[in-house]
């Protein structure tokens, strides 16, 4: 009898213990960052991995709604701009605190913007702030005085920016990681090491509690975050699995809650009764394209460029090679960006073997006869290699042209492109902020951009310059449409190939959103087990 009671008590306590454990175990998200984030310093981040973590740690003035891509308030409660569109003021929340207890103020933002633009910081992304008055001059060392930059804390909770020209998209830029407030006192105390977990001071929805380099990052919910009540996931366990197939195996093992699907596993995932239900394909604001070196024969002839663009069967490429339900692209600016031209408008060059052959014949190379040796170059990667091989085959079939493939390691590739670009080369572009200015002007303007395709078109330059200054949205849309028409159709300076997608598997118990420009919002995600 006694024994029975003992067992009863024991088992009761066991059950209690378990249920207690179940209550106390934090709601944990298991997430793969893919690589080690090169930095957690908002001024220095350039890659999606870093931005994904920074998004959890540092708040911006504004943020994006993952669904609508609209700009929504985050640190700022409201903002307004002057009549001429040149001066913007943002009003800050008063209830935001740094993890060391100090309030987050407009001075922190002023410091952050100046720090990003300070040449000594050497921020890669400083150029997106060049729209701010004086930013470029200071960043390029022309002017040494940081106070020359058009940013000023009017009071503790109002920050003001002066711009070079009106820009409706400025609130997007104001929310980018390079303008996010950072703790001056910590940075000055610890130098480059301020982002290590023992030193870092943050203000976002999560705290950095562990950063084992190349291995894992642990984020814990920030109890002092102003909207902490609406954050359900209490801990994010980030791992850094580089191999896509290994990450996929971990997802199937249950060690990851969400994973990018490796290209080679797409067919299996689609055929699998369980996995196919967990598959989501969401847009991602990037474009994959082949650039032509417009100054190198035979690509200095628009007809040849058109022929090569028209001979690419984008749909087959997506169906058979990339497999991620990417969207065939005939224009450069991707969907979701202000200025994107919908396919119904029929702008750009689609797959048309007949026309392709005709273009090539008109250019004086019937069936490819007489063409010099043409090289297609890509940076070393399994995916690019596959796409290049498939397109090489298409050109051979449609145009009868045998194109050489070469690949180079990334840094050498960049150098080659700027010094002596081959006739055709692979590139991609991703949105920094959702406006076509970031695409057409900042990529292909003949003098103000990198202009890797070595292409000069006076009308294009004029159109994109005008669009940048124009404040009427309808007019801007028209201008960008015209620019796309020149770039991708009349001149065929590039051959757009596809618009990216995120191909993702998510466990049924996780409700997640997709951030089309990177910087996932874990705070909005829900786990119900």
């Amino acid at each position: 009898m006694r024994k029975n009671i003992l067992i009863l008590i024991l088992s009761l306590s066991l059950i209690m213990g378990f249920s207690l454990a179940a209550i106390t175990a934090p709601v944990t998200l298991q997430w793969n960052l893919g690589t080690e984030p090169p930095t957690l310093d908002p001024a220095l981040a350039t890659d999606t991995t870093s931005v994904d973590v920074i998004e959890q740690l540092f708040l911006g003035l504004t943020d994006y709604d993952d669904e609508t891509m609209e700009v929504v308030p985050e640190l700022a409660t409201s903002w307004e701009c002057s009549e001429d569109g040149l001066v913007w003021a943002f009003h800050l929340r008063k209830d935001v605190k740094w993890t060391d207890g100090r309030p987050v103020t407009a001075h922190d933002i002023e410091y952050a913007v100046k720090r990003t633009l300070d040449p000594a910081t050497a921020s890669d992304y400083a150029y997106v702030l060049y729209i701010i008055k004086g930013a470029k001059e200071v960043n390029t060392g022309e002017i040494k005085d940081l106070n020359y930059i058009g940013v000023k804390a009017i009071d503790d909770y109002t920050i003001q920016f002066a711009l070079n020209h009106p820009a409706g998209y400025f609130p997007c830029i104001a929310g980018m990681w390079v303008t996010r407030p950072v703790p001056r006192w910590t940075i000055e105390k610890y130098g480059d090491k301020w982002t290590e977990p023992e030193n870092i001071v943050t203000n976002g929805p999560y705290l950095l509690t562990k950063w084992a380099h190349e291995d894992e990052i642990i984020l814990e919910k920030n109890p002092d975050y102003f909207d902490a009540d609406n954050v359900q996931i209490e801990r994010v366990h980030c791992v850094m699995i580089v191999e896509a197939s290994t990450a996929m195996a971990m997802y199937e093992e249950g060690k990851l809650d969400s994973v990018g699907v490796p290209l080679d596993d797409m067919d299996r995932v689609k055929a699998d009764p369980v996995l196919s239900k967990e598959l989501t394909i969401a847009p991602y604001l990037c474009t994959y394209y082949y650039g032509f070196n417009n100054s190198k024969p035979p690509m200095d002839n628009p007809l040849v460029r058109k022929a090569f663009s028209a001979a690419i069967d984008r749909k087959s490429l997506i169906d058979y090679v990339t497999k991620g339900e990417q969207v065939p692209a005939t224009t450069f600016t991707c969907p979701g960006i202000f200025g994107h031209v919908p396919p119904e408008e029929g702008i750009g060059i689609g797959y048309d073997p007949e026309a392709a052959r005709k273009y090539l014949a008109d250019a004086g190379y019937p069936e490819g006869k007489g063409l010099p040796e043409i090289t297609l170059m890509f940076n070393t990667s399994e995916g690019h290699r596959k796409i290049a091989q498939a397109i090489q085959q298409m050109w051979k079939e449609v145009l009868g042209v045998e194109v050489n493939l070469t690949n180079q390691e990334w840094k050498v590739y960049l150098k080659t492109l700027s010094e002596d670009a081959p006739q055709i080369f692979r590139l991609g572009w991703c949105a920094d902020y959702p406006d076509a200015n970031n695409w057409l002007y900042e990529v292909f303007h003949s003098t103000d951009s990198e202009n890797r395709i070595k292409w000069h078109n006076a009308e294009f330059d004029r159109v994109v310059e005008e669009a940048a200054r124009e404040s009427d949205s309808a007019k801007r849309l028209e201008l960008y449409k015209r620019a796309e028409q020149i770039l991708c159709e009349e001149e065929a300076g590039i051959a757009p190939i596809y618009f990216y997608t995120i191909v993702n598997l998510t466990k049924p118990y996780l409700k997640r959103t997709f951030a089309p420009m990177g910087g996932e919002h874990f705070r909005d995600w829900r786990i119900t087990k």
Partner: protein
């Protein structure tokens, strides 16, 4: 003996110097710099960064500065991850590579030596052929096929071992086996050959003739002597395992030093490339020295020159 060791250690100094010089030269000969980005930085910023890291100095000065700092135990900053120095990187990641190397070596020894012994004792029998076939298979299957196969079978089919990562003993099994199996095969073949040779020696025959039991002969006389050449390869083998774990680290997502090397070259992170190269060179030199010492200890007739 001590003189010999001291001389060898002194000799390793110029060797390391030359290795560092060659690595430094090769690294800087590769086109592209650490601050070349897809969206190029303004020239002024690059100039600033180069001044900060001393990259605007003439190459010889950069090299001598590096050596001077290295002598003081400072192997420089990492250009690609600013919050960490090369010392940080090596001190966090090298121990992992070393652990993996030790475990792989244990796998190699535990599997390879017995396999080779059994083969030798049952020479030309079916067991011998079978063991040697296994051993050859071990050398013949590349890690990038074996790794994913093991993951698929043990982690996803049988659910008895985790897929990847590092930290627990379960996580260590698959990578250690993937890495160690080739060396196990080498050890098996070496043990077999050496055992066969020893068994034919006179003193074994004498022992047998004296009536020592077969088991005793094998264990006390043959095995001890047969293992001598095996012991001498263990040092270099360990060095090879530690420095050759790159693929295994990548497949099993292990935070070791190996995969750092390739990424550092890609990033033109010269100090990290140099740091890892020198570290591995030290390991290899030490292993080679160890072999020579073991040899001299085993066979005092060897002269030191």
């Amino acid at each position: 003996m001590i003189n010999f060791v001291i001389r060898r250690i002194l000799w390793s100094i110029p060797v390391l110097l030359i290795i560092s010089l060659v690595t430094f030269g090769l690294g800087h000969a590769i086109p592209g710099g650490p601050f070349d980005k897809e969206k190029p930085l303004p020239a002024e910023i690059i100039a600033n960064l180069e001044a900060y890291y001393g990259l605007d100095d003439p190459l010889w000065k950069q090299y001598t500065d590096y050596l001077w700092n290295a002598l003081h135990g400072d192997f420089g900053p990492s250009y690609s991850s600013r919050s960490r120095t090369v010392n940080d990187i090596i001190s966090t990641h090298f121990p992992v590579s070393a652990q993996l190397g030790v475990l792989a070596l244990i796998v190699a020894m535990v599997v390879g030596i017995p396999l080779g012994m059994i083969s030798a004792l049952k020479q030309n029998s079916f067991i011998d052929y079978f063991c040697m076939f296994l051993a050859l298979l071990g050398v013949s299957v590349p890690a990038m096929t074996l790794g994913p196969l093991l993951i698929w079978f043990f982690a996803l089919k049988l659910h008895i071992l985790p897929v990847a990562r590092w930290g627990t003993w379960q996580q260590a099994i698959l990578p250690a086996v993937t890495l160690g199996i080739g060396s196990a095969a080498l050890l098996a073949r070496l043990t077999r050959a050496s055992m066969l040779q020893v068994i034919r020696e006179d003193y074994i025959r004498t022992a047998r003739a004296k009536g020592v039991s077969e088991k005793n002969v094998t264990i006390h006389h043959a095995l001890k002597n047969a293992l001598i050449p095996v012991v001498t390869v263990i040092g270099p083998m360990f060095a090879a395992l530690v420095t050759g774990s790159l693929i295994v680290e990548q497949i099993f997502a292990i935070p070791g030093c190996g995969k750092y090397f390739v990424t550092s070259i890609t990033n033109r992170d010269y100090p990290v490339v140099l740091g890892i190269m020198l570290l591995y060179a030290v390991i290899i030199i030490a292993a080679n020295l160890l072999v020579d010492i073991t040899y001299s200890w085993i066979d005092p007739r060897i002269r030191y020159t």
